[in-house]
């Protein structure tokens, strides 16, 4: 076997690393705008699908501008805050104390003129983050639509939270019970009773993801309870 001097090995390794680093940084930088754009478009598609507007990557931008008519940021008391609701990082906000949290709301006007209010939510699944958008009717109680996404939940099990069969049952469910108590939405293992207006079916084999999703809804939506109550009183 041919032998190489230590100097040669050292130089060889250094040169190789520098070349590899250069190639990687070059691709990362040149592809970054495309990737960011994809992520933004996906977010817009998710938001649109929570209000039952179907979009493809090509028309997401246009439809988003058409249907999402207003967006604002509030605090837990319901007072208006500075900031752009679309770019609020929910994960960051959840780490802050309740008083300091900025809570985004996106307002959607459907073709029939009805207004929906979209609340972004974010939490933990089994393997990584999960997120979603909950659209409420203007009674701030009934869910108009829900959409969820995940990064790496178990394929075929927990990953099904982004499927229609899981998201569809959220429609028409209510956050508050008749006495006005905040109940949020429960994910019921083994299936929710048909008359349970606060429960939806869980995913068999995806219990931890289901539980994570339930906790996510509770953690995120509970911040808005005061605001919702104030809004409904005024009406």
């Amino acid at each position: 076997m041919k032998t190489y001097s230590k100097i040669y090995i050292f130089i060889y390794a250094s040169v190789m690393i520098i070349i590899v680093a250069a190639v990687l940084s070059f691709t990362a930088i040149s592809l970054k705008p495309l990737q960011d754009k994809n992520i933004e478009i996906e977010k817009k598609q998710d938001i649109l699908s929570s209000v039952n507007v179907f979009s493809v990557p090509d028309d997401a931008e246009e439809k988003f501008n058409k249907y999402i008519t207003n967006s604002y940021v509030i605090n837990f008391k319901g007072e208006m805050q500075e900031g752009d609701a679309f770019y609020i990082d929910i994960k960051e906000e959840l780490n802050k104390s309740l008083e300091q949290r900025k809570l985004p709301i996106l307002e959607c006007t459907k073709d029939d003129g009805s207004e929906k209010f979209i609340i972004p939510v974010r939490g933990k699944g089994l393997w990584g983050p999960i997120w979603g958008y909950i659209a409420l009717n203007d009674d701030y109680n009934t869910i108009y639509g829900a959409t969820f996404g995940h990064e790496k939940e178990t394929p075929g099990l927990g990953s099904d939270i982004d499927q229609d069969w899981f998201q569809e049952p959220f429609k028409g469910k209510q956050l508050f019970d008749k006495s006005g108590k905040f109940r949020c939405i429960e994910i019921v293992k083994g299936g929710a009773a048909p008359d349970n207006i606060h429960g939806v079916d869980g995913i068999s084999g995806g219990t931890i993801t289901s539980k994570g999703l339930e906790a996510m809804l509770k953690d995120c939506l509970s911040n808005y309870v005061t605001y919702f109550r104030n809004k409904t009183k005024i009406k």
Binding site: Y4, Y8, A13, Q35, P57, P155, S204, G205
Partner: protein
């Protein structure tokens, strides 16, 4: 050069086809089992995984084969790893930029290609001793042999586990649910993938008797 080997000489063809039979990475060499278990729940994932492995393996084989006379043996493993990692990250970045939908489903799995034993196995066993062109064919052949088993596995697991093929509800369309058929939930779990691989090895060995070791 008069003694130049033709591009598709018998030897080269063999390195392309051998992985489908006596040199199959999964059923004979039992390499790359980890991704085979992890990503064969759905056919679509298995297909993109196979294509990613194909590009990474063939390109890294070519790179290592071209550098083979300059690589110091003492750091050859590190060099191989760096080349593989580089290519995998490139594939990941490109998928994210151009086929975002698919990359979303594969995020973790693309990264897993780095740890795929087949790639390093081929670099170590073949590319370090051969010219770039045969190394390229070897890479394509092995990745195809790997992908073939992956797809076959995913076919069984998706069909029996979820009742679908490429997401199309085959079992439902055939009306089997109505007569009491139920999906086998065990098929989507990793242990069943291992058992299915075992069955594949069994089938392969009973077809090709040469694979059975003599005592």
């Amino acid at each position: 050069m008069s003694n130049k080997e033709p591009l598709f000489s018998t030897k080269n063809i063999k390195s392309l086809t051998n992985p489908f039979n006596a040199g199959n990475p999964i059923t004979v060499l039992v390499l790359g089992i980890c991704p085979a278990l992890a990503i064969t729940v759905k056919l679509e994932n298995a297909l993109v995984m196979s294509l990613s492995v194909l590009s990474v393996l063939s390109i890294s084989n070519v790179i290592i084969a071209s550098l083979r006379n300059t690589i110091p043996p003492r750091i050859r493993i590190i060099v191989q790893l760096v080349v593989i990692a580089l290519l995998v990250i490139l594939v990941d970045q490109i998928l994210k930029a151009f086929v975002y939908e698919i990359s979303k489903q594969l995020t973790v799995y693309v990264g897993l290609i780095i740890t795929n034993c087949i790639i390093m196995g081929r670099l170590e066993a073949f590319a370090l001793r051969n010219k770039p062109w045969p190394a390229f064919l070897d890479g394509v052949g092995n990745a195809a042999g790997f992908g073939f088993i992956l797809l076959a596995l995913a076919f069984c697991r998706e069909l029996f586990g979820s009742g679908t093929l490429f997401g199309y509800p085959v079992v439902e369309k055939l009306g089997l649910y109505k007569i009491g058929y139920e999906n086998n939930g065990l098929m989507i779990l990793p242990p069943m993938a291992l058992i299915t691989v075992g069955i594949f090895i069994w089938i392969h060995r009973s077809i090709n008797k040469e694979l059975i070791e003599t005592k």
